[in-house]
Symmetry: C2
Subunit: 520 residues, 2 copies
Amino acid sequence: MTNGMGRDSRKELEIYKKKKYITQAKMIDISTGNKIVVLNDKEALVNDIFEGERVEIDIKGKIHIVLVNLSHSLVKEGEIGIYADISKDFGIAEGDIIEVSHIQTPQSLETIIKKINGQPTNKDEIQSVISDLMANRLSESEISAWMTSSFIRGLNDEEIVSLTEAMVGSGQLLNLGKSPIVDKHCVGGVSGNRTTMVLVPIIASAGIYIPKSSSRAITSPSGTADTMEILAPVNIEMDELRELVKKTFGAIVWGGGINIAPADDKMIKLRRPLRLDPKGILLASILAKKKAVGSQYVLIDIPIGMSAKIGDMATAQDLAKDFKTIGQKLGMNIGCVVTNGSEPIGNGMGPVLEAKDVLSVLHGEGPTDLKEKSLLLAGKIFELCGKVGKDEGYDVAKHFLESGKALDKMKEIIAAQGGNPNVKIDDLPTAKYRYSVKAIADGKIEHIDNKSISRIARATGAPIDKAAGVYLFKSKGDLVKAGDIIFDLHAESEANIDFALKMAEEFNPINMGKMLIDEF
Amino acid sequence: MTNGMGRDSRKELEIYKKKKYITQAKMIDISTGNKIVVLNDKEALVNDIFEGERVEIDIKGKIHIVLVNLSHSLVKEGEIGIYADISKDFGIAEGDIIEVSHIQTPQSLETIIKKINGQPTNKDEIQSVISDLMANRLSESEISAWMTSSFIRGLNDEEIVSLTEAMVGSGQLLNLGKSPIVDKHCVGGVSGNRTTMVLVPIIASAGIYIPKSSSRAITSPSGTADTMEILAPVNIEMDELRELVKKTFGAIVWGGGINIAPADDKMIKLRRPLRLDPKGILLASILAKKKAVGSQYVLIDIPIGMSAKIGDMATAQDLAKDFKTIGQKLGMNIGCVVTNGSEPIGNGMGPVLEAKDVLSVLHGEGPTDLKEKSLLLAGKIFELCGKVGKDEGYDVAKHFLESGKALDKMKEIIAAQGGNPNVKIDDLPTAKYRYSVKAIADGKIEHIDNKSISRIARATGAPIDKAAGVYLFKSKGDLVKAGDIIFDLHAESEANIDFALKMAEEFNPINMGKMLIDEF
């Protein structure tokens, strides 16, 4: 049996396309998170348009592809229901004239089918997948089929490079016109770990460009963008960022605000519930965001540990090799460090609590692990971009931190982004409720679980409640006595304290006195 | 790098599940073709629920899984927007109390991940995929990932058998308690081809049970169910069908009405746009519908031809072998015939035009090809179930047709299903407009393209306009003179005649006087 694929229905659809009909916009205050319109059911039937299909809509000559919902009476014949998100994204107002027609089969479907069948795909074909993805021409199940087959069949180096370039092209570019530009990325999985906010001012204070785009929390109690936002606005547009970095050398902004590699964000949305991370797509996803801001030197931090994303050294080494190979083909010089990801870095988990740690380190105090890791990474970046010799980076980074130059630079960056440069740790808000979790027996801390700590911190209300979160007082290896405070819960309501406590009981994030067997 | 899969987030979600909130139903007259509710955006955010996620809703103790849309003002805090299809399917009325909570990660996600990773899956795991599919616990992209990986990795015989059984279990069973029960399935791709409506009365008139479930048109101008509906109601419930078949031996009903193997329909909806037909899923899909009505002997008609679904003999033979192997494991005796699918069977394409052909054949007249193919298939069914010896079937079938017994049986079936048994061909409606397409030169007809003829017939308005369609006057091999009528277009509007003519010009469905090179 043939697999049923490859039948060319494009010709048919081109003919069908001649069937068009005119509607007028009717606003519907619902946001679907998707590009959908509502058509009158009878009118759709007559025009051979079905629920869940995609159609083309033409608004003043601009064509968009949207999904179809149907309504029997809310949307009447001659009307088209426009949801809130579409109205905003496409600039549609009540009563606007909209022409509805069938879509052509997207060209990229053939590319997806090629990948399903195990054939390699070329640059143009990969570009068509990303273009059609961005134009909403592919359904979720089609994109999922592409990602699933990319996972099973694999992507070769050329495909990953093409994919990265297509992702870069899907959004804006920084085009700073300066050099050297450096960047840093952490593969993730470690709680706290706000090294970016310490190392960016260190690097920038040395006159090296580091226009850092960061993400908001997805499953963690705070992303770097959320933590930075405690000190300064992070939703900054590309043009503004360009001017800003030319002056300050460094910035820490939200990646969503500058619209870099948005194709990637669309894919992440589908990959997340499926937990489907094809290696090639993952590499492209990370490197596209670096390439879009023009990074020439990129340090990749790969934490390993039982509760980190990467569990063992062999996997970390493979990943590092791939980053370096693909990076080189993209014209980026990539360095990788494998770091200790066995416990949280810093004491606070949650936007405000993390911001306090960062300010504290910049003032020469604060958690030692956060300070040391930041210096290590900053030092490696100095070495990577050739500003200092091998093994000299750490000391140089330490100089910029301890001399107060990094703090001054951070104040400059905060001011440039629109925050208060003279903010003190004590100025930052505190949550209404606090609860201390204490050791019930003497012992030695054997393991602090990143995932569990993150979940507990989220249960307190972070990142929505800025000042909520977990504050850790102990590290791995510490000897504790019964009654010692292990961590504090901060929350804006007693209910959230209770909820976080229930999670803490369930997950038992801190193991004492025995070798832990991984239960995940 | 690990592929990121296998992280167990179930525990986390079980905890989150404790977070519930109460809402009251607010009706929204939109039909989405999906199970979706609308939550207030602020309330959703506070409860950690995001656009496009799935949540559990509890209505008077009944739990359903639904997708989330958000609204800023149409749906207020404390409200939940209920779309028309959900309101109907779940029986929700304005003001009903509905509890909203997080869902648990469906167990079947692990099975999907196993299949993606190329591991075989067992009976229970496949059952969990189908159960979760039916309960709406899997997203479209998750189901797509399962189908894509089933296509790439393949399903072994045991998996196909388990899948078939799970599909059977997803719906109702006929449980006729009689024997023998026979059935017939056509792999498809041939226009017209309404053999079912001729052979069912032939078989039933010989005292053999044939409770035939048929489909409505998807991409064709008429399905068997649409054509039968011209003569009698086909939307019959399972209990009614059971009683009916006990009396008449035969019936021709719409499969959707008796709710057999509904899991399959859900999958077809996703497979169709992707043109993704994993062989194993296709086999299970067909055989589940036979098994659900208790068929013991099933004849599979595999038409081959340039414009049919199956293009060559080798593919047809492979398919036949698979049908027989899987059928045996499911306790069904399967026979396969490879038939000539190189041109349409019968003259009419469209519900009424096809029904006329069928009545005509039952009255001893009508298109020869439809009559001969029906006799061939009926004969094979007689042989398959052991009622007659090898090569005796055709003559027996011919006897039942020519003696008028099949016509009497058809009248009995029409009456039993609620139609008028004495309907005459001339009683059937005719379309308002007719246009004759004539030969522009002398020649010999070399090829009549099934797909093109189907598209042209759809363009006339069929199957929505019952009497619309194409009526063919010529067959492959016929000599025609300039001015001879090749086919008539029937339509309810001049616009539809024009539209069908444009399609005919574009597709040139009938090739004359030269060897055709397949352009599809």
